[in-house]
């Protein structure tokens, strides 16, 4: 795309277009190719400096039987956006565990397009967002199943927790299916911390901030469970959560 996007562009509807304009035109997306049968994991912490903006576009091509596991933590900058365009060939597997942590006036976005081009591929996306103050968190996730990509097994789960009533979460799980023997699960939920649970924790002596932090930690912790970079990701997430509930 060479023209500056506008609100009419579905994929940029919730973006901070002023921030985008400053970064425009974007460099060509990073290309990541996994060969047949190859397995790889990667993690990315988008921890842009306060006030700055960053857009990462990554195109991922998984050849037959390749397995790719990606952990993503989007938490820094005034505007942060990560776009993943994934293509799965026969029997490939893509796993995304992502967390968005926003506060202040941050706008943070994850946009995924996962194309099951051939049969028997699996994809699983789990995205959790915690949004405080006036921040906005967005997940636009499209799963496309090509004609003939039978036995596709794909799942998307997005859950957002709003810490303040002034925060915003946008979710658009999207399916485009041209095969008839597929399994495509998708779910999106937006809510707030359970007041009774918070009171229960506080009644045992936890400060309100610690009670919230403990519950939010539990809310996002599962996403990075067992990941190679689990410690790094959990520590970074915990630090940001600590700042968010002060």
């Amino acid at each position: 795309m060479s023209a500056l996007p506008t609100r009419r562009d579905e994929a940029w509807r919730y973006a901070d277009l002023q921030a985008v304009a400053k970064l425009w035109p974007l460099a060509a997306p990073e290309q990541l190719v996994l060969a047949e049968g190859e397995a790889a994991t990667r993690h990315l912490v988008l921890d842009t400096d306060a006030g700055a903006a960053d857009i990462r576009q990554i195109t991922i091509n998984l050849a037959k039987g390749a397995k790719f596991s990606f952990q993503l933590l989007v938490m820094g900058g005034h505007y942060g956006r990560v776009e993943l365009d994934v293509t799965l060939h026969e029997g490939a597997d893509f796993d995304l565990g992502a967390v968005i942590l926003g506060n202040g006036d941050q706008t943070l976005e994850i946009i995924t397009t996962v194309t099951h081009a051939e049969p028997n591929a699996t994809s699983n996306q789990v995205i959790r967002a915690v949004l405080a103050e006036r921040s906005t968190g967005t997940y636009l996730g499209k799963v496309a199943v090509a004609r003939g990509a039978q036995k596709t097994d794909s799942a998307q789960s997005f859950k957002a927790m709003l810490i303040d009533r002034t925060a915003t979460a946008n979710a658009k799980p999207e399916l485009e299916i041209f095969a008839d023997d597929v399994k495509c699960a998708h779910g999106a939920a937006i809510g707030e911390l359970d007041a009774m649970s918070l009171f229960y924790l506080e009644s045992r002596g936890l400060t309100p901030a610690d009670a919230k932090r403990l519950m939010l930690q539990a809310f996002v912790a599962g996403v990075f469970d067992g990941a190679a970079a689990e410690d790094v990701l959990q520590a970074a997430a915990l630090q940001k959560l600590g700042e968010m509930v002060r």
Partner: protein, 266 residues
């Protein structure tokens, strides 16, 4: 009064020990509806009090108001806890000052482990009181002792708070928490509900073991006499329509059981 030998147990002897809890003319509302309408109650250290009353009398409202649950508004009256203004403290400060709430329906909190939560809670209380935090090892020792005493396996203590616990296990877990946190005053809201006879005895024994001490006090809130067979109260009060309408000794509970609330509270 002529006494030749023995020890006189004077639970309500003023001047010896200060009031643990003194509630005066408490009015409280929930969603703008007045539920507590001038409740007064005094509990001294070393005493166990039971509040009994029919559905809708305000028993749970009293528990939550004393605990500081959001939405339970004190409109007038005072409560002093161990020399402090109770209503001036946040829920976590009330806990740190030595108040424990036993919940009628303990909350399930997925993802948060019992031991992690309790260790953080205990150390938050200690910090508030200006005490050093308890080390991981010392905490686990204390947790194991209390879990063993309540017949709870440590595996359960490592699981998420109350998730997948039966009604009885949740109430046992409340007692384990009470044992670990070692409060001065426990307000136990229908701790006997959902318990079978065996669990009732275990929970009753737990209350006696942890709380029946000269420097501690208990407020049991219950519908039924049966818990009082295991935890014998020094005083029994009848709560009806937001006020204490009658107070007496343990015999009052039996009278209530026999004659019903309508008769006594009338």
């Amino acid at each position: 009064m002529f006494i030749t030998a023995g020890i006189i147990w004077m639970p309500a002897c003023p001047g010896m020990l200060p009031d643990m809890l003194k509630i005066e003319n408490l009015h409280a509302t929930v969603a703008d509806k007045e539920i507590l309408k001038g409740l007064s109650l005094e509990i001294n250290a070393g005493e166990i009090h039971a509040i009994m009353g029919p559905n809708g009398a305000g028993k749970s409202t009293l528990t939550y108001t004393l605990g500081g649950r959001p939405g339970y508004e004190v409109t007038s009256g005072t409560a002093t806890f161990d020399g402090r203004d109770l209503f001036d403290m946040a829920p976590n400060e009330r806990a740190a000052a030595g108040l424990f709430l036993g919940f009628q329906y303990p909350v399930e909190i997925p993802g948060v482990s019992n031991v992690q939560f309790l260790r953080e809670a205990l150390n938050a209380q200690r910090k508030w009181r200006g005490e050093e935090p308890l080390s991981g090892g010392d905490f686990l020792k204390r947790a194991r002792t209390q879990a063993d005493a309540m017949g709870m396996h440590m595996d359960m203590m490592k699981r998420p708070v109350n998730v997948g616990f039966s009604g009885g296990e949740k109430k046992r877990n409340e007692m384990v928490q009470m044992g670990i946190l070692d409060p001065k005053l426990a307000i136990l809201d229908e701790t006997d509900s959902g318990l079978d006879i065996d669990a009732l005895r275990v929970v009753g024994d737990g209350i006696n073991r942890i709380m029946r001490k000269p420097d501690k006090a208990v407020l049991l809130i219950t519908h039924y006499q049966r818990l009082l067979d295991y935890v014998q109260p020094d005083f029994v009060h009848v709560l009806a329509a937001g006020r204490i309408v009658k107070s007496g000794g343990p015999e009052l509970a039996l009278e209530l059981e026999r004659e019903g609330y309508a008769e006594i509270a009338a």
